[in-house]
């Protein structure tokens, strides 16, 4: 019954999305103005119905209802409850349903609270949002029905890929999806603004919280995903420029650019066409990313969710949304005027530079990711990996970081470098000193060296915008910017340290044997079997001693799952303030020795701390913006109330 109920809710939600699209479009014409009233309520109910449908699917998974095909294919009664719950979206159909549910809710929320835009622009936005949702509803209902029943219930489900049975990874896809959905709302705003040609500060302010929210989730998603790759794949790498990783990076790059151009549009009414364009591009990149991951068109480590038929469907949606939006852009953007002007030394110019660099990095990642497809069309196979991406990205990242130190100090419209030069002397000195010290003390690797020096300079420079300000009266978004920029410096420092100072030790050790890796002394005390809820493992007990400190136990495992059968190696990490010890248990050798892989990675956790700081900066900015909006709404309502009373 629950399955049929969920399916019915989904059909109703789809029908309401169609109604929302039609009513919203008609309301924009001169004769259809009567439809304007129903668009907002329809959007809200549509969101609630989609949520109901997703709740039904969660219930089915929690109960392990094996008469439903999706549950039988992806779940197992012996699975821990949390993974039954997370298993709801650990598959194609469930994740698509999650997507439409969140998108519907977000649309409903916009319909409820957004009052800044002119009514026509908002109607166009909601119609655009319904159009995007409708595509996903059709996709779900026609090509990937999550509620399909089996003719005969099976005795036991097939289980969830063991690599995915991990708390971090269970919440990784929904985090990215929340980001994608946020960008889809920004996309709808861009469409609305293009339709009514109303691209101005009000549009930027309406769109900004959604972009910020999306960006926070994307930042967290990428950070978590890279940490997952780091400790789960068991070789100490945290970023491989794999197509799937690139697919998650591209929307982030576009969203970062959009965030910055939004603030120019909101405060200075400039970069109008460019901001609209980025709004379209950011969502395009999330669709392109989803397509690349789902279609399996590129060879990738993450071959979890591959199906070419679904790939074609997503491609069709992509063509309709993006092709349509870009055509609209080309037709309308010429009638969107450029907006206010500014000088080459101004806050705007700094942000434009940042936008151009981010777009260029995005271009590099996109081209590098797709290029194997190009050569394949000509019958040749090539691989594009770190030796291409690292230097090419650095080409644009380094100038961007340099401008990042100075940009936030510049005034809007017109400023002079001479004014900010004294403040920049400190970070410049630090960069110089760091470069000097590093060339003397460290092995010469150009990129990590530059990275570390720039990280040191940026870390200081990121706090300079607070200089001379009354901290109590400084708006929260400024703190957000400071924290996020500092987070970039922290992450960069971790990245540079990892590639410069990591120490690796591979060995085959007998129980009782001792070895050295960097400052650590490590003894293999024992190898013992242990059991988990749905796996058994061999566990190595390593006594790890940092210099003369007390030894700490690290217990890496080689795990064997039985539903479905698969072996994974679970690394064990020992984190200190100055780095991380990374241990992995490999295979047993014939003579009773065990393969061990050990790394000492100085300051590597900074990469993820940095990522979290960046997201935290976003959170601060979002709270600041929403708070200011709330205050404005309350003030406006007060005035309206007073007027109403005076009128009476």
């Amino acid at each position: 019954m629950i399955a049929e109920f969920g399916l019915a809710a989904l059909w109703f939600a789809a029908a309401l999305a169609a109604l929302q699209l039609i009513a919203g479009s008609l309301a924009l014409t001169s004769r259809g103005a009567g439809f304007a009233g129903i668009v907002r309520p329809v959007a809200v109910v549509q969101g609630l119905l989609a949520l109901t449908s997703f709740a039904a699917l969660i219930t089915l998974f929690m109960r392990t209802d094996l008469s439903v095909k999706l549950v039988a294919m992806n779940s197992h009664s012996a699975k821990p409850l949390i993974y039954k719950f997370a298993g709801t979206w650990g598959n194609h159909e469930g994740s698509m349903l999650l997507w439409v549910a969140v998108m519907g809710l977000a649309g409903g929320f916009v319909a409820l609270v957004e009052r800044r835009l002119r009514e026509e622009t908002l109607l166009a936005t909601l119609a655009g949002q319904a159009f995007v949702s409708l595509g996903f509803y059709v996709f779900l209902l026609l090509a990937s029905n999550p509620f399909e029943r089996l003719p005969q219930p099976v005795a036991e489900g097939q289980g969830l890929n063991p690599l995915l049975q991990d708390l971090g990874l269970a919440f990784h896809p929904p985090t990215l999806y929340l980001g994608y959905v946020g960008l889809s709302i920004a996309f709808s705003f861009a469409i609305g603004a293009l339709v009514t040609r109303e691209v101005g500060p009000a549009f930027a302010r309406a769109m900004r919280p959604w972009v910020l929210g999306a960006w926070i989730f994307l930042t967290l998603g990428i950070t978590a995903g890279s940490f997952w790759a780091y400790y789960e794949l068991g070789w100490g790498g945290w970023w491989f420029w794999d197509p799937v990783e690139n697919a998650s990076l591209m929307p982030w790059l576009a969203a970062t650019a959009l965030l910055h151009s939004c603030s120019v549009l909101a405060s200075r009414n400039a970069l109008r066409a460019w901001t609209v364009m980025l709004g379209v591009v950011a969502f395009s990149m999330s669709m392109v990313g989803t397509f690349l991951v789902r279609s399996g068109i590129l060879t990738s480590v993450h071959a979890f969710a591959v199906d070419p038929r679904r790939g074609s469907f997503i491609l069709a949606l992509l063509a309709i949304y993006i092709g349509g939006a870009l055509t609209l852009f080309a037709l309308r953007a010429s009638t969107v005027t450029e907006g206010e002007r500014f000088s080459p030394t101004s806050r705007e110019a700094g942000l434009v530079f940042n936008n151009v660099m981010l777009s260029a990095i995005l271009g590099i990642v996109l081209i590098g990711t797709l290029y194997p497809l190009v050569t394949e069309a000509f019958g040749e196979k090539v691989s594009v990996g770190p030796p291409y991406f690292n230097p090419m990205a650095a080409l644009f990242v380094i100038p961007m970081l340099l401008v990042m130190t100075a940009g936030p100090l510049l005034r809007w419209r017109r400023d002079s470098l001479r004014r900010i030069a004294p403040a920049l002397a400190i970070p410049a000195l630090i960069v110089g000193a760091a470069l000097l010290a590093l060339t003397v003390y460290a092995p010469l690797k150009l990129l990590p060296l530059l990275g570390m020096a720039l990280a040191a300079g940026l870390a200081v420079a990121s706090f300079l915008p607070l200089r001379g300000r009354n901290l109590r009266r400084t708006p929260l978004p400024v703190f957000g910017m400071v924290v996020a920029h500092f987070g970039i410096a922290v992450a960069l420092f971790g990245v540079a340290c990892d590639s410069m100072f990591s120490v690796e030790r591979l060995l085959a050790a007998r129980v009782g044997e001792t070895t050295q890796v960097g400052p650590w002394t490590i003894r293999l005390a024992a190898v013992e079997p242990v059991a988990g809820p749905n796996w058994t493992a061999l566990e190595a007990q390593l006594r790890a001693q940092y210099k003369d400190n007390a030894p700490i136990l690290a217990a890496p495992q080689s795990r064997t799952f039985w539903a479905p059968p698969q072996t994974t190696s679970e690394s064990a990490l020992v984190t200190r303030w100055n780095g991380q010890l990374y241990t992995v248990l490999g295979e047993a050798a014939d003579d009773g020795r065990w393969q061990l892989r050990l790394w000492w990675k100085p300051f590597v956790p900074m990469i993820w701390y940095g990522g979290v700081l960046i997201a935290l900066g976003g959170v601060l900015a979002l709270i600041g913006r929403v708070w200011a909006d709330l205050k404005r709404i309350i003030a406006r309502d007060k005035i309206a109330y007073r007027r109403a009373r005076q009128g009476r």
Partner: protein, 186 residues
């Protein structure tokens, strides 16, 4: 505020269509990629080149080991790269037997295999091989550009690789291999 600025619009005209053009390019590219699916196999780039010098010990009792010298006797033959632990290798056994019965000489290279496992494998699936060399560290496999098991190479009488068949040999592949062998012999 919403008034067009004809002069600037004209100047920016081409730039506004650029995103759509790029997207069209992307779309065309992935359409090609989607409907002409790439083969996931890595073909050897070593076709037309001579086998490297090698000398492998016998992989099991009852058959000699395999060395490069054998491939220069003027007679074309098949070189089958296999392993006892590989499932499709057992699946192609009937086709190999058929090829051997038609007078083709087949030599094998057993990848990362123990003698007793190879013996058991041959016991189960028959033994079409004239000689089997043991490649314990995939050294010869890497040297001829083979990236998995099973793979079958057609070698001409001078020791030059003429053709590579990736994956197990199906019934319909037998005539192809025979034709390649004939071509290598002429």
């Amino acid at each position: 505020m919403n008034v067009a600025e004809p002069a600037s619009a004209l100047r920016r005209g081409w730039a506004l269509w650029l995103p759509l053009a790029l997207f069209a390019g992307f779309f065309a590219l992935v359409m090609v990629g989607l409907y002409k699916p790439a083969d996931r196999e890595v073909a050897s780039a070593f076709i037309g080149k001579p086998l490297p010098q090698f000398d492998l010990r016998p992989a099991t009792q009852g058959r000699p080991g395999l060395a490069f010298a054998k491939f220069t006797d003027g007679k074309p033959r098949l070189l089958n790269v296999f392993a006892s632990w590989c499932v499709p290798c057992a699946a192609e056994a009937p086709q190999l037997a058929q090829l051997a019965a038609s007078g083709t000489e087949i030599d094998g290279i057993a990848i990362r295999d123990r003698p007793e496992d190879v013996a058991a494998f041959l016991q189960r699936n028959g033994n079409p091989f004239a000689a089997i060399g043991a490649d314990d560290v995939s050294a010869v496999q890497l040297a001829i550009g083979s990236s998995g098991v099973p793979e079958t190479f057609v070698i001409d009488g001078k020791g030059v690789i003429r053709h590579q068949h990736i994956g197990d040999i199906r019934a319909e592949d037998v005539p192809v291999l025979l034709a390649k062998l004939r071509a290598a012999g002429s």
